[in-house]
């Protein structure tokens, strides 16, 4: 089972990745994707994600491996930006290919919850010219806790 994780230091094209992934997993009946992007229109001028190289990508690889172990997948891909992003730019793309769509949905959902709460990124936002570090959201921990009590 193929799984891959990568850290993108500059803008990437989710559609091109989806095309490539879909073609590579022609045996799968269903492909679920999640695209997270910098929201437009809330006064955020830029967003920056910092990472710590010795931990961040290895953590993403470990998450991808854990996810493919947990569900019956044909393939899984995680791409996460670091660096400065502008509104409308993609931050994260998770792709899961499976024979049965339930597995693909659950795997993408699981990978996103763990990326949000457990991966080694620190986020700051620029609003009205001022950069501010973002605290973890309680909702992210609640999302994560779901996976402790179910498959």
């Amino acid at each position: 089972m193929a799984c891959e994780a990568s850290l993108a230091e500059s803008a990437f094209d989710p559609s091109a990745e989806i095309t490539r992934f879909t073609a590579a997993h022609a045996l799968a009946g269903g492909i679920v994707s999640f695209i997270g992007q910098v929201r437009v229109g809330e006064g955020v001028e830029a967003l920056e994600l910092r990472h710590y190289a010795p931990l961040t990508l290895p953590g993403m690889v470990a998450l991808a491996e854990a996810t493919v172990t947990r569900w019956a997948l044909d393939g899984l891909s995680i791409i996460h930006r670091s660096g400065v992003m502008l509104p409308g730019e993609p931050i994260v793309l998770v792709l899961a290919a499976a024979r049965h769509r339930r597995d693909a949905f659950a795997a993408a959902d699981y990978a996103m919850d763990h990326l949000k709460s457990e991966s080694w990124f620190w986020k700051r936002e620029k609003i009205a010219g001022i950069w501010r570090w973002i605290e973890p959201r309680a909702q992210d921990y609640a999302d994560l806790a779901r996976w402790d009590r179910s498959v």
Binding site: G36, R50, Y52, P54, L55, H80, V92, F121, W133
Partner: protein
């Protein structure tokens, strides 16, 4: 011995830099490291929510590392990614 300290997230603002070098007698403990830093930064680094990594390996939450020659000690605030 030389040590390298790395400050992630908001700790970079507290430190005024992303990383710094320090020279201490070997082996060094975390309290010895903090004693060499400005009081405000040392206080920020004593936050119990922080995690530590030595040479890229995450430490257990209650670990008391003994630092050796050339070690990189990273201070990791709670993550807020994705």
């Amino acid at each position: 011995m030389p040590l390298r300290l790395v400050f992630l997230g908001r700790l970079e603002d507290a430190a005024g830099m992303g990383a710094t070098a320090l020279d201490l007698p070997a082996p060094a403990t975390l309290p010895e490291v903090l004693a060499r830093l400005p009081a405000a930064l040392a206080a920020a680094l004593a936050d119990p929510r922080l995690r530590l990594a030595v040479n890229g390996a995450l430490l257990a939450a209650d670990a008391k590392p003994l630092l050796a020659d050339g070690d990189e000690l990273a201070f990791l605030p709670p993550v807020s990614g994705g």
